[in-house]
Amino acid sequence: MKELITFNLNRKPVELNLDRDRILLWVLRTDLGLTGTKYGCGESYCGACTVLVDDEALRSCQITLNDIQNRSVVTIEGLANNGELHPLQKAFMENDALQCGYCTPGMIMNAYALLKKNPDPTEKQIMEGMEENLCRCGAYKRIVEAIQAAARVMGGFEHEKK
């Protein structure tokens, strides 16, 4: 049954008249045309579909519109602010942290939430925080380096300064 769903998407209010049990991933990709969020496994194992819901990284293949009612969703398309790339996006580019790029949006969104929670992560904490995101091209090494670089730019990485 269709209902009015209201939430914030990439900093703009959105109203949708849709079934509230629709999977967020498909609504984003098809109804809203935001195809940066990828399907990789559909069952929570790969992280390609990761988005931010109130700054928490969630797998959009596992949540429904019901779960985001009145909350704030950010996708990869909304990460840059006023045309200025987010430090993570820049760091992924500068550190060559991608190959085919298919896992990249999910990696960046997950890393965003990770740095939000812990602006000053150790390498080990980065690996643990990213563990459930898969990259078949094997870009892990540079993804870790990119996250470290972004953390530095964003003012974290206190443990290095000490």
Partner: protein, 717 residues
């Protein structure tokens, strides 16, 4: 054809409606300077087909120096993460003396680009590189000749820089490429006679350059097949059998036909549900009741090896030298071993996808495919139309690794689009991807080898079943040896593999290198010689010796006979013309059997590395991906029924597996570029197997080396 901005792809519209002759083609393509190139041999059948491609067929790539000074390279190759959109542009920019950002790469569009057989086998840089550079050099020469006339100066007085031609002695006398190309219609087939730049003249090649596709990929703008959305497009979900050998005996569509907004298509074997949202299509699919007859099969990941040996075809000789029988007589120690390797999935994070739009007799396709020109022919055949009416536009590929040379999903989408008259998207689920993949074949290697009383390898008798030939040949100096392969590893007749098999990153070579390098280590240990030293003693191949030494240096390898308890392992291999030596350090948990790879050093001689940064990243990717086939990946099945449906049971490498990776690229600037996207993966299995032996004195004869198998082998002693 209108420029389609919503799709954000490079749809250059000016080259539509090609005629066949090159002269005609130039007329349509507009002004500027054209250089055509032929890469390798164009197969006769491509030239002679009645249904020939609409572009002229005596070249398979070309570049255009436009009247605005921009340079475009048209090639049927595609970008799937290997970075050729960057490295090919680098070569061109350097030979032509233009800025890298003035080069546009137009790739994988079958209407704009000449025929190409596909992107695989580490061939793009290797075979494409030299003619591309030659074309660039030729283009530069034409520009200099034009400038000589324009500036009224002799050719040898001129120099080129950044899209300009200058007078050497008076730099105020200059003319831009744009000025020179304006109003011109010049075309030439690259003669290959113009000298290429020498490495000391490179400004762009050989320098690390960031990827040109990075911005699109970090902003979510990069389009992959399933990201293509056309007005009125429907998403298809297709009814699948539970097993490859299942026969459908009954199907009940009555419930699904009641669902509002769902279109049900039944066409021979194909039953699909369509909806403008994929999730609705998915739900509807679950309402179809079908029953199948599935024959019983005893084949599974354990019994497959006996089966394959039983059905193996006659062997074919790959190479031989000396006399094995003579070598056997000289042997004082003989080693006879069997190595096994299970099926592996390609498992790119992007599953196969395609959008097909059949409009009247015109067909446009956006596939995730490594072989766009094959797609064109396959779809034409499936729909019974001329391939001249089919256009394939290649989006980015979310990984291929050989798996996207097969295009079943495109045929499905094409059939459905034709039946409905609407654009159709078929995007496989992860489970479909694990079902219709063309898996890396299970394989067996039997090696019989011997050492003479001086500890030298005196014979080598090698038989590989179903992996394929690539990498089966050893490169050691062994006086008597023979290499035979049985079954190619591509497909295999009925009654061999229970499902499709095909090329998987460095096909055959992972299995062959694992077997060969394990066997070499066994002999080294028996001879009481350090494994690196043993290889050195048996190697005359200079290139291989130098990579082995470079790796040993970087690793700081100290000689010791295995098992030294240090957990060090080494392996060497050759793939796509590139020599690789790898050293690893592992930790084996004796309680759980779990292997942790702590450190990997890989040295590689790939000739001239066009983009060393790109090459390094490919090596890191190979090493990381290789951990999977070495330690975990093993498809489980019963007959044609696949038991792995997703990444929960089919484990691929993840962050926590990441070892410290160090890479060395041998500086071989004067050598021809060789493959870089695959070689470093071939040594991962062998190096880890040898390191496990070094750590715990237990030899692993089967890939993957899972904790269970390691514990098993430990128990057996």
């Amino acid at each position: 054809m209108k420029k389609n901005n919503d799709l954000d792809l490079d749809f250059t519209d000016r080259l539509m409606d090609f005629q066949v002759s090159r002269r005609e083609f130039i007329k349509i393509a507009g002004g500027g300077i054209f250089i055509f190139m032929t890469i390798g041999d164009i197969p006769i059948w491509a030239q002679q087909r009645r249904d020939r491609p609409s572009l002229p067929t005596d070249f398979n790539a070309f570049l255009q120096i436009n009247e605005d000074g921009r340079v475009a390279c048209f090639t049927g190759k595609i970008e799937m993460g290997q970075g050729i959109v960057t490295s090919l542009a680098q070569m061109l920019a350097d030979e032509l003396d233009v800025a890298l950002d003035s080069v546009d790469m137009v790739m994988g569009d079958t209407d704009l680009c000449p025929w190409d057989m596909g992107t695989f086998g580490s061939m793009s840089t290797r075979f494409f590189g030299p003619p591309l550079r030659a074309a660039g050099a030729e283009g530069r020469q034409i520009l200099v000749e034009l400038a000589a006339e324009h500036l009224n100066r002799p050719v040898d007085q001129l120099l080129t820089e950044n899209g300009m031609v200058y007078d050497r002695s008076d730099r105020e006398k200059k003319v831009t490429y744009a000025q020179l190309a304006r109003g011109k219609k010049i075309s030439r087939h690259a003669s290959g006679k113009v000298p290429l730049k020498t490495p000391d003249q490179f400004k762009i090649m050989g320098d690390p350059i960031l990827r040109r596709d990075a911005l699109e990929k970090v902003t979510g703008r990069a389009k992959y097949a399933a990201d293509i959305q056309l007005p009125g497009m429907l998403y298809a979900r297709i009814l699948r059998p539970p097993s490859h050998d299942a026969k459908r005996i009954a199907v009940d569509l009555s419930e699904v036909q009641q669902i509002e907004g769902i279109q049900v298509i039944e066409d021979k074997d194909l039953i699909a549900v369509l909806h403008h949202s994929p999730d609705f299509a998915e739900k509807a699919l679950s309402k179809i009741k079908a029953s199948y007859d599935t024959p019983k099969s005893d084949l599974n990941e354990v019994t497959i090896f006996d089966h394959l040996l039983k059905v193996a075809p006659e062997g074919e000789l790959v190479a031989e030298n000396g006399d094995i029988q003579k070598g056997k007589k000289e042997a004082s120690m003989v080693f006879e071993q069997i190595y096994l390797d299970g099926y592996k999935a390609h498992a790119p994070i992007e599953p196969h996808g395609a959008v097909v739009n059949v409009e009247g007799d015109k067909v446009t396709i956006w596939p995730s495919s490594q072989t766009p020109f094959r797609v064109k022919d396959e779809v034409a055949e499936a729909l019974g139309i001329s391939s001249n009416n089919v256009r394939v536009i290649s989006p980015f590929l979310g990984g291929g690794f050989g798996g996207k040379t097969r295009n079943l999903q495109v045929i499905e989408a094409a059939r459905l689009s034709k039946l409905t008259g609407k654009p159709i998207q078929v995007a496989w689920t992860r489970q479909e991807e694990f079902f219709y993949d063309s898996f890396r074949p299970a394989a067996i290697v039997k090696i019989n080898s011997g050492l003479d009383k001086n500890g030298q390898t005196c014979f080598w008798d090698y038989h590989v079943f179903y992996a394929g030939e690539r990498g089966s040949q050893h490169f050691y100096s062994i006086p008597n040896s023979s290499t035979v392969y049985y079954g190619s590893g591509w497909g295999g007749g009925p009654g061999t593999h229970p499902f499709a098999t095909g090329a998987w990153r460095a096909p055959a070579n992972n299995t062959n290198t694992f077997a060969r390098e394990s066997q070499i280590d066994i002999m080294a240990a028996a001879a009481g010689v350090d494994p690196v030293e043993f290889r050195r003693q048996n190697l005359t191949d200079k290139k291989m010796r130098s990579v082995l030494e470079a790796a040993a240096d970087k690793f700081n390898w100290k000689p010791a006979t295995a098992p030294s308890k240090r957990g060090y392992g080494v392996a060497c291999g050759i793939d796509a013309g590139t020599s690789v030596a790898m050293m690893v350090e592992v930790d084996v948990d004796r309680e759980t059997g779990k292997v942790m790879v702590k450190r990997v050093v890989c040295a590689q001689d790939m000739g001239l590395a066009i983009n060393p940064q790109g090459a390094t990243i490919q090596m890191e990717g190979c090493i990381t991906m290789g951990l999977g086939y070495a330690l975990a990946e093993d498809l489980r099945f019963s007959g044609g029924q696949i038991h792995d449906h997703n990444f929960d049971t089919y484990e691929i490498p993840r962050f926590s597996w990441l070892p410290k990776i160090e890479t060395v690229i041998i500086d071989a600037k004067n050598e021809t570029p060789q493959g870089g996207g695959e070689p470093a993966i071939i040594t991962v299995g062998g190096a880890i197997a040898n390191a496990i032996y070094d750590a715990i004195g237990v030899r692993m004869f089967q890939l993957p080396m899972t904790p269970a198998r390691i514990k098993d082998s430990m128990a057996k002693g």
